[in-house]
């Protein structure tokens, strides 16, 4: 069934090489996007929990804006609109970027910033789930606000939210497919291209689906290992972001729900 993948293409490669190159772009986008998202997400998530309005209002705005605009629209904003609204020298420089990178960088920025808003909500949930006593103890030891967050609050919160970050990891690698709309030849785009070149639609999409399933499995296993390694002994995993009220209510009802927050 997958034999066609090993046939020669018009450009002298094999179809499987197209798929692998697509996989490469997908992985690169997901991997680097993740670190952008994680860095910004932690900062914004902390900002959501501090008393100082100077930090909390921009953090809230950030989350509201980036979470409530569809990824595809954000993709178009970075790709089509951003070079037009910045000063023309910079805009022209952006338009000079050669083809694959001209799509890759906007996509990277888009996915990183979008996922950051989701991670920020998880980080906030993790911080709010910590007992008050942690902050009080830090105060009693004479730590200032920055040191309290740096050494007491954030490390514990991050250890708590590893299970719910799994769905964000799955989310970012799936969202990489949106980059095909701005011309990046990632995995889904390559699958479509193969299907158009060979008319073996079932094979082309089937191969891509299997690769995505493997990625999901790897992501899930990796996050489970990380969770095992860093879990605070004796702690129950924190329920994701916006659903903590419900999770608590459901827990009172008996079973502990998991994977309540579903991400595409």
């Amino acid at each position: 069934m997958f034999g066609v993948l090993f046939e020669q293409t018009a450009d002298g490669q094999r179809y499987i090489d197209w798929l692998l190159s697509g996989l490469g772009w997908t992985l690169a986008l997901a991997f680097f996007g993740w670190w952008i998202a994680f860095g910004i997400g932690v900062v914004v998530g902390v900002g959501r929990t501090v008393q100082n309005r100077f930090f909390s209002v921009p953090a809230r705005l950030y989350v509201e804006i980036f979470r409530n605009i569809p990824v595809l629209v954000q993709m178009f904003l970075w790709y089509f609109v951003f070079p037009e609204v910045v000063p023309s020298a910079l805009g022209d420089a952006i338009k000079q970027i050669p083809p694959p990178w001209a799509s890759f960088f906007p996509a990277l920025l888009c996915l990183g910033l979008y996922t950051a808003s989701r991670i920020a909500e998880q980080v906030r949930a993790g911080i709010e789930a910590l007992p008050r006593g942690q902050i009080e103890a830090a105060n009693a030891l004479g730590l200032n606000g920055y040191l309290t967050y740096r050494y007491v609050i954030v490390p514990q919160a991050l250890r708590l939210i590893v299970p719910s970050l799994t769905s964000e990891v799955m989310g970012i690698y799936k969202n990489t497919s949106v980059a095909l709309t701005i011309g990046l030849m990632e995995l889904t785009a390559q699958a479509r291209q193969i299907s158009e070149a060979t008319f073996q639609t079932f094979t082309a999409f089937g191969a891509a689906t299997i690769i995505y399933l493997c990625l999901a499995l790897v992501a899930y296993q990796a996050m489970t290992l990380i969770d095992k390694a860093v879990r605070i002994p004796g702690s129950a995993p924190v329920k994701p972001g916006t659903d903590e009220d419900l999770a608590t209510e459901m827990r009172q009802g008996g079973a502990v729900p998991n994977a309540m927050e579903v991400v595409k």
Binding site: R67, N68, P70, V71, F76, L180, T209
Partner: protein, 230 residues
């Protein structure tokens, strides 16, 4: 940088409006299909009906692991073939991108709603089932009148949040060249070269609708939380 000229947006307002109506119709249809089908899928898994439960588990796992765009491509390709087989003559029946979008989003969302409802079903207090047995209610009556209403009520904030995500995801029908809100804006933008204005307006429209809806969900959640703590 050219000066922004939003007059193009007011001129093309009817077209954008019809695009928005399509997005909302798609969201509503996917919500209804997804909820009905999702509840069935969740119940089949909950009752551990042999073979079907395993197939559904596999379906939900696959759907949740691959990107929505790939799912759209899959259905765009598969639905005519399946319909052809169902109709008997075995020839693919082309049904067009619009129907494909409705079917795809319904089936796709069913996987997500079923996960929510499945977890909700597990969370129902055991005493509820025992009370139903004590009252000699049949399994059907137990689920129809006692269990499902509670699950839907408790899970309603999550279901609504998921529906807001669904509304945003309908923008992906762009890959099928359909004229939803984004599709309409994109077609106009290419026609008159006003990309910046068009995409900014669309972004603001999505932002306004989604944040208003999120605020409503937050209010609902708060009211509900109060009601249960009393």
């Amino acid at each position: 940088m050219n000066t922004l000229d939003f007059s193009i947006v007011t001129q093309s307002w009817p077209y954008l409006w019809s695009g928005l109506l399509f997005s909302l119709a798609l969201t509503a249809a996917a919500f209804v299909i997804g909820m009905v089908l999702g509840t069935c899928l969740a119940l089949v898994q909950h009752f551990e009906i042999p073979v079907f439960a395993q197939i559904i588990r596999g379906y939900v796992a696959v759907i949740r692991s691959i990107p929505l765009i790939l799912v759209l491509f899959w259905f765009f390709f598969l639905v005519p073939i399946v319909l052809g087989h169902l109709s008997g003559n075995g020839r693919p029946i082309p049904i067009g991108a619009t129907y494909t979008a409705f079917i795809t989003f319904g089936l796709f969302e069913a996987a997500y709603y079923s996960e929510i409802i499945r977890v909700g079903l597990r969370a129902v207090n055991k005493g509820q089932f025992e009370a139903c047995q004590a009252l000699a209610l049949s399994t059907y009556d137990t689920y129809r009148h006692i269990v499902l209403p509670q699950v839907l009520r408790v899970a309603s904030p999550i279901i609504l949040s998921q529906t807001i995500i669904l509304f945003q995801d309908t923008s992906l029908v762009y890959v099928l060249s359909l004229t939803d809100l984004l599709g309409a804006a994109s077609k106009l933008a290419q026609l008159n070269g006003r990309l910046v204005e068009m995409y900014l307006v669309v972004a603001v429209a999505y932002l306004a609708i989604s944040s208003a809806a999120s605020q409503c969900v937050a209010v609902l959640r708060k009211r509900y939380a109060l009601a249960t703590s009393r």
